[in-house]
Symmetry: C2
Subunit: 147 residues, 2 copies
DNA sequence: GTACTTGCAAATCTTTTGCAGACTC
DNA sequence: GAGTCTGCAAAAGATTTGCAAGTAC
């Protein structure tokens, strides 16, 4: 149900439409990756200057409900949105705020272990792992400051 | 430098003091575990009603700078504070918002693998892992909704 | 015409900042 | 008396809500 046609009909069943604003928001999320609502709004306004941030929030909610985008908490406040297919684990450096991505396979059997230990179904892509990135470690090897 | 005496002298070196408000905030964090600034404030006000939320924020910042407390992003907005020694990985259920904790050892060699793959120094306690807890899975086994 | 969408303004919530008075040494 | 600490009020930033006007079918 990810292709354009079925998206339209999914919306239609609910009496909703794929409006230009919603399409622009979806496009912006696709293009930007890891964008905050604010950033998405800026991007959309590059094409259609009058689109309101309120509309962006509402569109993001709707698109998330439809399973087209998802949001990830990268720490320090702002959630970021990306398209649903964009599946990997995020690594956030809390020194420079850089975001790196690694395939979920790198987690190995962590999900299984959490399931076994606590019955917890891990959703690895929803949250980021925090730490210090290579660049920052090389720049300043001793501090392991946290934010 | 975690005991009361050296804390006092650390503060003193900076021309600062361990005021009743700061002590109350520290106590509240100790008692509550995973408390938001809001919750800490409520707790403190139970003892000293006039303490302002501003003071709580400032005390939390200071205590964090001193390495006595740390904050963790558990997703959906609010950071929560806990005492520094409180070291484990948090599992947040995004259905019921329940927080579970597992020893960091359960991550196995994840930290090593991230280091090897990306030179990333994982700080496992800073962020939570997100997913669905046992209770919610049993209550409603099919949905794997995200928040 | 009805129902959905949008933009705008205002409300809300969280966190930060400026400042004057109180307190400590 | 100098410098720190606090409470209050206001500012700032992010997100949500109410509502009237616009639009699609």
């Amino acid at each position: 149900m990810t292709d354009r046609g079925s998206l339209r009909s999914t919306l239609h069943q609910r009496g909703m439409r794929m409006t230009p604003q919603r399409q622009l928001v979806l496009d912006a999320v696709r293009e930007l990756e890891h964008a905050t609502p604010e950033q998405v709004c800026k991007r959309v306004q590059g094409t259609a200057a009058t689109v309101n941030i309120t509309t962006v929030y509402r569109a993001l909610d709707l698109l998330e409900e439809l399973g087209l985008v998802r949001h990830t908490h990268l720490g320090h406040g702002a959630p970021t949105y990306s398209v649903e297919e964009h599946e990997h684990v995020h690594l956030v450096c809390h020194r420079c705020d850089d975001i790196d991505e690694v395939p979920t396979e790198l987690l190995g059997d962590l999900a299984d272990r959490l399931d076994a230990a606590r019955g917890f179904a891990l959703d690895a892509t929803h949250l980021a792992l925090s730490g210090v990135c290579r660049k920052c470690r090389e720049a300043n090897p001793h501090v392991e400051e946290r934010r």
